[in-house]
């Protein structure tokens, strides 16, 4: 058992005594009640459980089913519950741009994998803000970013189309380079 402190969705959490060896997904689910990061394979293969780790270098996805909770000690993370704007009661008042794009494109069906796709697309958009991609390479860039994420319901098309529309319509994410 060790003490764990971190920042989750902008909120300081801890110190909490957490057993060594406990995976981050269990910490999120059982200690914080944040169940939006979904357990699916438990092997880091489907990426339904990813969160966003914020570092000085930028944001990155991390799979919580294969990463111990203590790895995140002192770090700042975002889960799917932290993207939208909410009112004082916790009700969503405005989804993030990625979430909005997924809504408008009917991107998901059962929605179990959606949190992982939200995080992957968010990390991609944040990366493109720093490193815009040529318009001609948008599709392959999206494919590379989202390929690790498994979805059983949708056939992926509407996730990919939503991200493409968002990237192409958001100023600064693309360049005219070939």
């Amino acid at each position: 058992m060790r003490s764990l402190s971190l920042t989750v969705n902008g909120r300081k959490v801890g110190p909490i005594d957490v057993p060594d060896g406990l995976m981050m997904i269990d910490f999120l689910h059982e200690y914080l009640g944040l169940t939006g990061s979904r357990l699916c394979c438990g092997l880091g293969l489907c990426h339904a459980c990813t969160l966003i780790l914020d570092t000085a270098e930028g944001s990155q996805e991390v799979r919580t089913c294969i990463t111990g909770a203590h790895f995140f000690d002192g770090k700042a993370v975002r889960t799917v519950e932290g993207h939208a704007q909410c009112n004082a009661k916790g009700d969503v008042t405005a989804p993030s741009l990625v979430q909005q794009a997924f809504l408008e494109h009917y991107s998901f069906q059962c929605g179990y994998c959606t949190p992982g796709f939200v995080n992957a697309a968010t990390v991609l958009v944040e990366r493109l803000k720093k490193q815009p991609v040529a318009k001609a390479k948008v599709e392959e860039t999206i494919s590379a970013a989202l390929e690790p994420h498994l979805c059983r319901c949708t056939g992926y098309v509407r996730y990919y189309e939503a991200v493409k529309a968002l990237v192409l319509s958001t100023p600064g994410l693309t360049s005219n380079d070939v």
């Binding site: 059982e30 009640g33 939006g36 438990g42 889960t79 519950e81 969503v92 009917y106 069906q109 056939g155």
Partner: protein
């Protein structure tokens, strides 16, 4: 908390099942708010101008990671539960050929020892067992051989999470936990199901049949000998089944010694067991409140009512005194596998031994692979005769062997669907389709998207390409010559109900550039990409939606301000039915439901009763039962069989329509001037909703709020609860509404009247939610004989694929695909297209990637996960290059058709046919893996 009072908390008693009262948390209660749609389903963003929904009603909750799945719920999310959450997992055998002799938990040491272990001895002592449908030995007793790999032997319960987690990790994949005794061999049993459809048509496809299942009967075996079916003796002058066997014998003899002008295609096709891989793994969270003799259960289920019903049956016999069962169904996903899943009943047992604490039993992926219902593996032997000169199909003899595994689930229904749909889109003058589902020691197989039709129709379309090649015909031209046309009979002798549109699909495919340019493109591609072979393949199928016995409840209400509320029995399983049902309201009421509730099990306002098996009822029993005005052949259907678009929508529409006709329309007439002489003759069928306002024959457009206010003031119908039943045709009934005899395609009805209704009318609104339960004056159920034809309602789709095959590796690259589909008038086009795209991906997985061994090296051994089981990724499905078109409806009021299953079928055959075009080899065993391709290219 200890003195929890159900009624004080606002729960409503839904029904009494086998002595156990069943409750559902209704709107407004704390428990409901914690779980259900009140917060999770946002009002539908509606574009009134074009009548479209901007996004899914459950979209925001899903995009923001809200607690929407049963799996998300913990004790602390349930306001009236104790907050300390217990956890449990199940020990399972991994050998089914030797006696089980107990288990050894010493690896856990003292620290990780479970707080409670539940075994077969415990549940036997306490009177707990599976509901009858699920078979024997819920937990395997010592000394017995497991009926199937992965048979549960014990439930280990922990009061805290951390010890549970580490104990579970410690026992995973250990082979020394379960002890075994003598080798017995797997248990041998008779097949789970066997039957035969024989048909000999008349002189033309339109003439009366000489013999068919509809006209005469399906044939069942007289018994079994050494577990093989013994068919009735063939006798042309004997009983119906003997005459049928005589026809079967002639069909067989003719294929043995065919006329010289016939070509007989003879081949064995095999298709594998797969896991539907619903991402939400099976789970249940329950609390047994002994003091109040109550059990609370949160479960995912495609059929919450079935869970309620079976749980009531189970608990009525338990030693634990349980008077009340509270069920909290949630949105889920199953692709069929959560219909008739036994998992909720393990959740009940875990809760009952929780020592007062809620217990959560939640499979991880290994466990889900080990225990969830699988798609049936099939071996099929086809003999198909065709006239070489005309290219017309002559005869089809098919034998189907499905592997049902160690427990009988929905195996008989899957088997029936496979055989019934094997003819696919084609007309055969005669056919003999014999099917058997064997019992084995594999994991039990059950409902899975495609439901038998995937297995048989994909094989049929592989056969069509092979036959066309033999005849030297273009494969699509060959299909067109043989496509089932309107008025022709299917293999059971039934004439399909709707217009048959597979021919249109074929015509469009035939002129698609992918098809027309395939030879030229093959040359170009192979010239520019050495080491690769190019191919184009096509497949087509039409699959039933519905099961031949479909029923549903729906309740619609309109408030004085025009707000519409919908309650529906259907469960959201990811397909978007919660959105589409809300949208269905718009057809009659001008806009979608503002508030919608699904998985509703409380139908006390319309207390229908059913008896017997709706699929097996005979006419006399049905007529006798129907004299009870509350009787229906089927209480309600689960969310399955692609049933929401057509069948669920009918219930919603019928409920909304009655409000329109008996509430809003009289209000409109009053607002337009009542009996003024100058008022034109207005008919409700001429009314139209335009931009959210009701208009008719040039009268002033009326806003819904104005109409609703008037309807309430007039005491018109402002709320309806309906029950509907379909046996390939809707039951119709007659009712007295406001002094008129009204006929409607429903079989149960309750009405609510507006505030202005006279006191006598209001006095009749006595149900719990203030409805007037109407007496059914007459009812007409479709003939029970309709059970025999099995299928009469189809939707069709064809898919073209473009593939490249790498010779060295055997890898198949899907370059592009194009689908042509019919679906009537889509309710929400984006949802239809999403189902198509998702089904195509699942079909790609089935054709090329997904595979589970059936026995000892299969998922029953607990070692399977996505590292060994290959689900299609985006790079496998041609995510950027796939296209689709939907046939325009024949008319603006075409009914929406269910397509969620058929969409995955043609691409399976198309891929195999495309690989044949690329490599010259016709595979007949799925999946077609790189290893198999390398084997034939070597």
């Amino acid at each position: 908390m200890r003195n929890f009072d159900a009624e004080r908390r606002g729960f409503l008693k839904a029904s009494v099942l086998a002595g156990v009262s069943v409750y559902l948390a209704p709107l407004g209660s704390p428990a409901f708010a914690a779980l259900f749609e009140e917060r999770l389903l946002t009002p539908l963003a509606w574009n009134g101008a074009d009548g479209t929904a901007k996004f899914r009603i459950d979209g925001l909750a899903k995009a923001t990671g809200a607690k929407i799945f049963a799996r998300d719920i913990r004790a602390r999310d349930m306001p009236h539960w104790p907050q300390q959450q217990g956890h449990a997992f199940v020990l399972r055998t991994t050998k089914a050929d030797r006696a089980y002799q107990g288990f050894d938990l010493s690896a856990l040491g003292d620290e990780l020892k479970p707080d409670r272990v539940v075994t077969a001895e415990d549940i036997a002592r306490d009177g707990l067992a599976f509901p009858k449908f699920y078979g024997e030995d819920m937990l395997l007793p010592r000394g017995k051989t497991a009926a199937y790999l992965g048979h549960a032997v014990a439930i280990l319960i922990y009061r805290d999470f951390a010890r549970f987690r580490f104990a579970k990790n410690k026992l995973r994949l250990r082979e020394d936990t379960i002890r075994y005794g003598e080798i017995t061999g797997p248990i041998a049993r008779d097949p789970w199901s066997t039957f035969r459809f024989v048909r000999v048509g008349g002189e033309t496809p339109y003439a009366d049949d000489i013999y068919s299942s509809l006209k005469d009967m399906p044939i069942f075996p007289a018994g079994y000998r050494k577990h093989d079916p013994v068919w009735p003796e063939a006798n042309a002058k004997g009983k119906l089944e003997q005459a049928g066997m005589d026809h079967a014998a002639h069909i067989g003899a003719e294929l043995d010694w065919p006329p010289a002008e016939w070509f007989v295609h003879e081949r064995e096709y095999a298709t594998q067991s797969i896991d539907t891989s619903a991402f939400e793994a099976d789970n249940a969270n329950g609390w047994y409140d002994a003091a109040n003799r109550a059990l609370h259960l949160v479960v995912p289920a495609q059929s919450p009512h079935e869970v309620l019903d079976s749980a009531g049956e189970m608990l009525a016999k338990a030693a634990m005194k349980i008077d009340k069962l509270f069920l909290h169904p949630c949105s889920t996903v199953g692709f069929g596998s959560k219909i008739r899943s036994n998992f909720p009943f393990y959740g009940i047992v875990a809760a009952l031994y929780g020592d007062g604490r809620p217990v959560r039993l939640a499979n991880d992926r290994y466990e889900h692979f080990q225990t969830s219902l699988k798609r049936h593996a099939f071996r099929m032997r086809y003999r198909i005769a065709v006239d070489r000169k005309s290219g017309l199909l002559q005869s089809f003899q098919g034998t189907f062997e499905a592997n049902g595994g160690g427990r009988c689930n929905l195996t008989p229904a899957v088997l029936k669907a496979a055989a019934a749909e094997a003819q696919s889109i084609y007309y055969f003058p005669k056919s003999d389709l014999a099917a058997v589902a064997i019992a084995s020691h594999a994991i039990d197989a059950g409902s899975a998207r495609g439901f038998g039709g995937l297995q048989s129709m994909a094989a049929t379309d592989m056969a069509m390409d092979a036959i066309a090649a033999e005849l030297g015909l273009d494969p699509i031209e060959f299909r067109l010559r043989n496509v089932l046309q309107g008025g022709m009979k299917n293999a059971q002798g039934a004439i399909p109900t709707d217009a048959m549109r597979a021919g249109e699909v074929l015509e469009k495919a035939r002129v698609h550039p992918l098809w027309m340019r395939r030879a030229e493109r093959k040359k170009e591609y192979e010239a520019t990409r050495p080491g690769w072979r190019y191919g184009v393949g096509f497949g087509c199928a039409q699959k039933s939606f519905g099961t031949g016995a479909q029923s549903a409840f729906a309740r619609v209400e309109i408030a004085p301000d025009g707000r519409i509320a919908l309650w529906h029995v259907g469960t959201e399983i990811g397909t978007g039915m919660s959105t589409s049902q809300a949208v269905v309201c718009a057809r009659r009421l001008g806009r979608p439901a503002d508030a919608a509730n699904f998985s509703v099990t409380d139908w006390t306002d319309l207390p229908m009763v059913s008896s017997g098996d709706a699929h097996a009822l005979n006419e006399a029993d049905s007529d006798r039962a129907a004299t009870n005005p509350r009787w229906t052949p089927l209480y309600c259907s689960p969310s399955d069989a692609s049933n929401s678009a057509y069948y669920y929508s009918h219930a919603t529409d019928a409920a909304a329509r009655l409000i329109f006709e008996h509430g809003l329309w009289p209000a409109a007439l009053a607002l337009w001037g009542g009996g003024r002489a100058s008022r034109p003759s207005l008919r409700s069928e001429d009314a139209r909703w335009v931009d959210g306002k009701l208009s008719c024959a040039g009268m002033r457009p009326l806003a819904l709020a104005e109409l609703a206010k008037k309807a309430h003031a007039q005491g018109g119908v402002t709320g309806t609860v309906v029950h509907v039943f379909n046996r390939w045709q809707w039951a119709e009934s007659e009712w007295d509404i406001a002094g008129q005899r009204v006929r409607a395609p429903i079989d149960g009805l309750a009405l609510r009247y507006g505030a202005g209704a006279p006191a006598a009318k209001k006095a009749m609104m006595k149900t719990p939610n203030g409805f007037h339960l109407l007496e059914r004056r007459a009812v007409e159920y479709p003939p029970a004989q309709r059970n025999n034809p099995i299928v009469t309602r189809y939707s069709a789709i064809g898919t073209l694929v473009e593939v490249a095959v790498e010779i060295a590796s055997g890898k198949v690259e899907l370059l592009a695909h194009h689908s042509i589909m019919e679906c009537g008038v889509p309710i929400v086009p984006q949802l239809v297209s999403g189902q198509l795209q998702g089904g195509l991906a699942m079909g790609i997985g089935h054709a090329l990637h997904e595979y589970l061994p059936l026995y000892e090296d299969g998922p029953g051994n607990g070692s399977w996960n996505f590292n060994r089981y290959r689900l299609p990724r985006a790079s496998d499905v041609a995510v950027w290059t796939q296209t689709a078109e939907i046939l325009p409806p024949l008319s603006a009021n075409d009914a929406p058709k269910g397509i969620a299953e058929v969409v995955m079928i043609p691409i399976v055959a198309a891929l195999v046919n495309g690989i044949a075009h690329a490599t010259g080899h016709r595979f007949s065993e799925l999946p077609v893996t790189p290893e198999k391709i390398r084997g034939v290219l070597a």
